[in-house]
C-alpha cells in the first residue's frame, strides 16, 4: 500500500466529507493580515467609480469587534472578480479602497453587491453576507434580496457618507435587533 495515495482517516468512498471548520482565533493577524495591500482592490487600469467601503463590526452588547478578519470579493465592470482582506481595528472598523461593483457575468441579473466572508474569535465557522448599495434601482429585482424577509433587507444595504460621497458605510451586527442577515450556501 502506498502512503502516497492513502488519505488520513478517510474512507475510499466518495463523496468525501469536508474537513470541519475551526475558529480563526484571536491571534491570526501575523499569519493572515500582514499584507495591507489587500485593502486596495483592482489596479490602476481597473475601470469603474472609485469608492471607499467602510465596514464596522458590532457584537451583541453593542461593542466594536476589534479582532475580526473580513474578506470581500466582487465583480469589476468587466466581470472579473477582485479580492480583498483586512482585519478590524480597535474601533471594529476596516476600510477597503475599491470600485463600485460591476455585474457578475455568471448567472442571473443582480443588484450591485460585494460578497463578504467574516472570521473572528468566537465564530466556529465563518459567515457569508453581502453589501448592497442604497439607491440602486436594481435592489427591487435582486434575486438574493428577494429571499430575505423584507424587514431584514435593510441590514444588507450600505449608506453613502453625506460628507464624503465616495465613501460608503456598512455596519455588521452579529446579534440584536439589527442582526445582519447571513447566508447558508
Amino acid at each position: 500500500m502506498s502512503a502516497e495515495n492513502t488519505l488520513t482517516h478517510m474512507s475510499e468512498e466518495v463523496p468525501l466529507i469536508a474537513t470541519a471548520s475551526q475558529t480563526v482565533g484571536p491571534f491570526f493577524s501575523f499569519g493572515l493580515t500582514t499584507n495591507t495591500a489587500l485593502g486596495r482592490l483592482g489596479g490602476p487600469n481597473t475601470r469603474g467609480e472609485r469608492i471607499r467601503l467602510e465596514i464596522r463590526l458590532i457584537d451583541g452588547a453593542g461593542a466594536p469587534v476589534p479582532d475580526a478578519m473580513v474578506e470581500i470579493w466582487h465583480a469589476d465592470e468587466a466581470g472579473v472578480f477582485l479580492f480583498g482582506r483586512l482585519e478590524t481595528d480597535p474601533a471594529g472598523l476596516c476600510a477597503f479602497e475599491t470600485i463600485y461593483p460591476g455585474q457578475a457575468t455568471t448567472g442571473a441579473r443582480e443588484a450591485a453587491h460585494v460578497n463578504l466572508c467574516i472570521f473572528m474569535r468566537g465564530l466556529l465557522r465563518h459567515l457569508y453576507t453581502r453589501v448592497y448599495f442604497s439607491g440602486d434601482p436594481a435592489l427591487e429585482s435582486d434575486a438574493v434580496l428577494a429571499a430575505v424577509p423584507p424587514d431584514r433587507r435593510g441590514t444588507l444595504i450600505a449608506r453613502r457618507d453625506e460628507a464624503v460621497p465616495s465613501t460608503w458605510t456598512f455596519e455588521i451586527h452579529l446579534q440584536g435587533d439589527r442582526e445582519t442577515v447571513y447566508f447558508d450556501l
Partner: protein, 234 residues
Amino acid sequence: MSAGSRRIVEGSQPPLTYPPYKSGALRSPTRPLIKLAGDFSDFAAPVYGYHAIGETDADLTRQHAGEPLGERIIVSGRVLDEDGRPVRNTLVELWQANAAGRYTHVVDNHPAPLDPNFTGAGRTITDDDGRYRFVTIKPGAYPWRNHTNAWRPAHIHFSLFGESFLSRLVTQMYFPADPLFAFDPMFQSVRDESARQRMVSQFDLSLTEPEWALGYRFDIVLRGRNSTPFEART
C-alpha cells in the same frame, strides 16, 4: 451518490452557537441563516491568486538568522474536493504558537518565552497532486481563559481557498493522542467522532527525514466546485 453531490453528515461541522465556547456568546448570530435556492449566486465565483510565495514561506525554521527552538517537524498532506479530486494550485496558509505555546502576537500575554527565531506563519501553493509541505516546529499547548484551567491542545491553524468562496476553509490541525482533546470545547464543538478525528494529523514515517525531522500527514477536504450546495441535507 453520484459525483458532484454533497454528503453532509450531521455534526461534521461545528454549530454556529456552541455555549461551552464562551467567546461566541455575544458573537454568534442568533437568527437562522437564510438559505439561497438556485445557482445564480456569485458566491461560487472562482478565486484568483493574489499572493506571491517567498522562498522561505513554507519553511518556518528558515525565516530568521538562527534556528528556532523546539521539535522540528514536517507537515504535509493533500487537499482534495469532496469528489476526491486534487485541488491544485491553491493557497495554503498556516500560523501557530512556538514550541513554548506562545504566539508572535501583541495581545498574547501567556507568560511563556517568545523565540526570536520563530514567527510561526507560513504559506505555500498545492502542486498538481493537491499536495503541500511545510517544515516547522511542533507548537506547544497553551492556557486560555474559556473556563478554569483551560488549555488548548497543540494545534496549527490552516486557511485554504480552493476553487471558490464556497470552498473557503479555516481549520486547525491537531496532533495524535493529545490528552487535552476531551477538555477542549473547540475540538469538541465538532460532534461527529470521525469528523473530529479528521482534524488530527497522523504520524507518517514516510514523511520523516532521517537525522532531521519527524513527519505528520494532514489531508484536507474542501467543498467541491461541482457540488450542489443547495441540495437537501441528509
